[in-house]
């Protein structure tokens, strides 16, 4: 599954379309940035409600391929600007972290 495959799904609204379209190989669900930093796998999609500029910084350092912000949380402009600078996709969904994780797991054939 590639990042662009998420963009084509109706559940996900792409808020930051200037991304590098890499292959997603895993998922990680967490709102604690240190946890993401320490444990998210490279090329995973991050499922979170932590809509903050720091989420982009951590994702970029940890090699996260895309961020999905759950429960329709608003994303500040500086977060999206940072994501654009890093070439990191940001999606928003109405579903919560559990529902989104389940959806992504199915897509990854887990």
């Amino acid at each position: 599954m590639k990042v662009s495959d998420l963009e084509s799904m109706e559940q996900f609204t792409c808020l930051q379309p200037k991304y590098s379209d890499v292959e997603i190989t895993a998922g990680y669900t967490s709102d604690l940035l240190s946890d993401v930093m320490g444990n998210a796998e490279e090329n995973s999609v991050l499922i979170t409600i932590q809509a903050h500029k720091n989420t982009v910084a951590v994702s970029s350092l940890a090699g996260v391929a895309a961020i999905i912000i759950c429960s329709r949380r608003p994303c500040p402009d500086d977060m999206l600007a940072a994501a654009a600078a890093e070439g990191l996709a940001v999606f928003r969904t109405a579903e919560n972290q559990f529902e989104t994780s389940a959806r992504i797991a199915r897509l990854l054939g887990m």
Binding site: L32, L33, S34
Partner: protein
């Protein structure tokens, strides 16, 4: 340009970092004049006079139990009590420093207390030296000239464009979450551009980011420095306080002193320092309340075997 806008020179930050990196034992005077409890104030006067010093520690089987300062001596003189035991006149609330503390802690101690010298003790609490302003000035001058020589050598033989040699110091201010992450992101890009394997780059990024966020979230400000060569990445973090009362507790996963606001920024899960230790090949932490915290993390770039966390 206002004062706040002025960015400190990288070279001045380097010197500061070098000084911070010194241990108190490398700077202190090791030849200490101390007196035992049985000595008199007259003995102290002789020692001070003959050696031009202004403070003499009082020891009881090598442990520091007090210090006689010039002030104490003058008080005894006024009362004509030079034959009294030092015990009567010494300052018994004496602040000591540990010899393996970074010099930055010593500098903080001079700011915090009004003493003009600090007895230095080893792990068994035995007197091994004394730290004065004079020692610090000497160390400063020594490090400045060392840094100057280093810069001269570097301008003669600049490193090759694609070399893995890199040193930089970043200053971080309290609660500046805006800029927390800048250093890590620069270092990550540098290592990536030099073809360092992604797994190693990631470990460096994790250690560096956690230390950066720690400085921003928990310290009153400090500096993060990188010293990179072909063999390893050395990351050092120094701050000016408040210091950690129990470093073992701070190293426990889940323990955090973060407030609600820090947590709202997505931090404060109590994983920072444990994360740094996990990704590092060498890890050291030193802290003292009121004086500061120093963390050093080294990641080897030439891995003989896979790191245990991989």
């Amino acid at each position: 340009m206002s004062e706040e806008d002025k960015k400190p020179l990288q070279s001045s930050l380097r010197v500061q970092e070098l000084i911070y990196g010194l241990r108190i034992s490398e700077v202190m005077t090791s030849k200490v004049f101390a007196v035992s409890k049985n000595c008199t104030m007259r003995d102290v006067r002789e020692i001070m006079r003959n050696n031009e010093i202004s403070g003499v520690p009082v020891v009881d089987s090598k442990r520091v139990v007090g210090i006689v300062t010039m002030n104490d001596l003058m008080n005894a003189l006024e009362e004509g009590a030079l034959d009294d035991s030092v015990i009567t006149w010494m300052t018994s609330e004496v602040q000591t420093l540990a010899e393996d503390m970074p010099l930055s802690f010593g500098i903080s101690a001079f700011g915090k207390f009004s003493f003009r010298q600090f007895p230095v003790v080893n792990k068994s609490n035995e007197l091994t030296g004394i730290l004065t302003f004079r020692n610090i000035n000497h160390a400063l001058i020594r490090e400045l000239s060392r840094q100057l020589r280093h810069m001269e050598r570097q301008s003669e033989n600049p490193p090759e464009a694609d070399s893995l040699r890199f040193t930089k110091v970043y200053q971080l201010a309290r609660y500046d979450f805006e800029n927390g992450g800048t250093a890590s992101s620069e270092i990550k890009k540098f290592l990536k551009s030099r073809g360092v394997p992604p797994k190693l780059v990631r470990r460096v990024a994790v250690a560096s980011y956690e230390l950066e966020i720690n400085l921003v979230a928990h310290s009153i400000g400090g500096m993060l420095s990188f010293d990179i060569n072909e063999e390893r990445v050395k990351i050092s973090s120094h701050d000016r306080g408040p210091g950690i009362a129990d470093t073992a507790q701070a190293m426990t996963e889940g323990f955090s002193t973060a407030n609600e606001w820090i947590r709202s920024q997505g931090f404060g899960a109590g994983m920072g320092l444990p994360n740094v230790k996990r990704v590092s090949d060498e890890f050291a932490i030193e802290s003292a309340v009121g004086m500061g915290t120093m963390v050093q993390a080294v990641i080897y770039l030439k891995q003989e075997k896979e790191h245990e966390s991989q």
